[in-house]
């Protein structure tokens, strides 16, 4: 590896390290992780409801839903906050007056925030995994005693879901960073970022319409095609219950395709952010 590239990696690593240390100290992060953990643990209370084999699915959906929702908010707010903190506090002035490239700055910010999102998602998914595993053990005993078929639970599936969710939060962080690089205020970045996340959640509608309605006009089709290419489909990452409780229902290659798509979107969005930030006046 050339020396210039090594130096570049070192600078990015240091910016991400400081971003991580700053983000992890935020009260907002502590608040969301405690709230989400409380939500996941509270799902244990569903054991008192007799859902039979559907109980685990309910607990999983509840837990994954909470992690998905609060994780999205965290990715949205934390990314915009970490970016604008540097601009508004003018630490970006001292940073970018050093031999630090603007793209290095953005990648450092992204990596730092993504690491914090990793702490969030791995902590909560581990907690949810423990809750599911504990209840699963009890349900297996009950099923064996009553001669019923015990429910499935895949620990590997929970891990795969965790990685997919981390990737999804990475895509959201990259989307918000792309918006922030042109936004003039934190509020604008959060609002527009939230809209793009919502658009990503609903992108599948355009995708389905494109596949289903063959009688659409050329312009309509072109519009839908453009939407499906420009906006990442965030729904493709939401296969937590299938991965965890019924891994056989997951299509072969779905995880790989989602991972590849997530990775490509992160790279493309970071490049867009880099291009927009290149000429920004600090």
């Amino acid at each position: 590896m050339p020396d210039s590239m090594k130096s570049s990696f070192r600078r990015v690593a240091w910016i991400s390290r400081i971003t991580f240390l700053e983000a992890i100290r935020q009260r907002f992060f502590a608040f969301l992780i405690v709230l989400s953990a409380a939500l996941v643990i509270s799902s244990v209370s569903f054991r008192f409801m007799d859902f039979g084999h559907g109980e685990l699915k309910f607990v999983a959906d509840f837990g994954f839903g909470g992690i998905f929702f609060f994780g999205s908010i965290l990715a949205l707010v934390m990314t915009a906050q970490m970016f604008f903190a540097e601009i508004e506090n003018r630490t970006a002035l001292t940073l970018l007056a050093k031999p630090v490239g603007r793209f290095e700055f953005l990648v450092g910010k992204f990596a730092g925030v993504w690491a914090v999102l990793g702490v969030f998602i791995f902590t909560l998914c581990t907690l949810l995994g423990l809750v599911l595993w504990g209840r699963h053990q009890e349900l297996v005993q009950i099923a064996e005693a009553s001669g019923r078929v015990p429910p499935d639970l895949s620990v590997g599936g929970i891990f795969a879901y965790t990685l997919l969710q981390w990737l999804r939060l990475g895509v959201i962080a990259a989307m918000v960073l792309a918006v922030s690089s042109v936004a003039r205020s934190f509020l604008f970045a959060v609002v527009v970022g939230a809209m793009t996340v919502l658009a990503g959640q609903l992108q599948w509608i355009a995708q389905e319409a494109l596949l289903r309605d063959k009688e659409l006009g050329v312009l309509h089709q072109a519009f839908l095609w453009l939407i499906t290419r420009l906006i990442p489909n965030l729904q493709q990452f939401n296969i937590g219950d299938a991965l965890t409780l019924d891994v056989t229902s997951v299509q072969v290659g779905a995880i790989g395709a989602a991972s590849l798509s997530g990775g490509v979107y992160i790279i493309v969005l970071m490049c867009i952010a880099g291009l927009a930030f290149r000429r920004r006046e600090i």
Binding site: R10, W14, E22, T94, A97, K98, P99, R279, E281
Partner: protein, 285 residues
């Protein structure tokens, strides 16, 4: 690259677009500056005259509308130019959770200081800015003067040839301001070029070799401090133990020789000098 100039600015113009209609606001208007190496150069002017914009353009933080800028012979905004430049912005803000030493270490790494020289570079920067003792405290506990000094430490940790200081004494008491002035002179003694943007004209007069005064985005005066301040049409005679009779005789002799507008008075020291004399020994640490 060898050049006698630390900074060369030619025909620099900067327009900002304001409002929805995108009206043009000219912040810097056809500015030409040549800042020699190894000097302390004062960039002065009222608020909004374009000083900070000029500095930001020189540092590559803002793009010029027109003009050419080079730093130490390299085009500004390039990595080569920035690795040879240190910058302290006005009212600097740093991550409060870091200690002073961690902050300077962080900026040293970003500046590309080699791993083997890192500790000595950080120690030297902290020592020059008198922050060695306070270096192990978190920045959140620092006073304004200490923030400026740690800001100066991060600016010089990679031993830049050019140091740009934007209002380094803003909000700092006279003792702290004098300490920063002393550090500026120490940096000059080390052969560095310092560009100083300040409203403390007394200090600028003391530490700067040359000054440029800007107004409404334009350069209105540039030259050596002693040249631009000298009033060639007047002289000052200073003496001690002068009696009233001697004073009258001197005045009469001057009039007899054609002198006009004679003023005989006691010289005044500045309030800044008096303050520093009275609070001597007090340190902002």
């Amino acid at each position: 690259m060898s050049t006698s100039l630390a900074i060369s600015v030619q025909g620099l113009t900067k327009d900002f677009r304001v409002g929805l209609a995108g009206h043009k606001l000219r912040a810097v208007d056809n500015l030409n500056l040549e800042i020699p190496r190894g000097q302390v150069y004062g960039l002065l002017g009222p608020n909004g005259c374009g000083k900070s914009t000029t500095l930001k353009i020189i540092l590559g933080l803002v793009a010029p509308t027109a003009g050419k800028i080079s730093i130490l012979g390299f085009p500004s905004a390039t990595r080569e130019a920035r690795s040879r430049t240190g910058f302290l912005p006005e009212a600097p803000y740093f991550h409060k959770f870091l200690t002073g030493r961690e902050l300077v270490n962080y900026y040293a790494r970003l500046s590309g200081v080699e791993e083997t020289k890192l500790k000595s570079a950080v120690d030297a920067a902290l020592e020059l800015t008198a922050m060695t003792e306070a270096g192990n405290r978190t920045i959140g506990t620092y006073s304004k003067g200490m923030l400026q000094r740690i800001g100066l430490a991060q600016a010089i940790v990679h031993e830049p040839e050019l140091v740009i200081l934007d209002e380094p004494t803003a909000g700092v008491d006279p003792v702290g301001a004098a300490a920063i002035g002393k550090m500026i002179l120490e940096m000059r003694a080390q052969g560095r070029t310092i560009v100083l943007c300040s409203h403390l004209l007394g200090q600028v007069e003391q530490v700067c070799d040359r000054v440029a005064i800007m107004d409404k985005g334009r350069l209105v005066l540039e030259g050596r401090v002693d040249e631009v301040l000298a009033r060639r049409d007047r002289q000052v005679i200073s003496a001690s133990h002068l009696t009233d009779a001697a004073c009258a005789a001197a005045e009469a002799a001057l009039i007899a020789n054609g002198a006009k507008d004679i003023v005989i008075t006691h010289p005044r020291r500045s309030l800044d000098e008096l303050f520093r004399e009275l609070v001597k020994g007090s340190r902002d640490a």
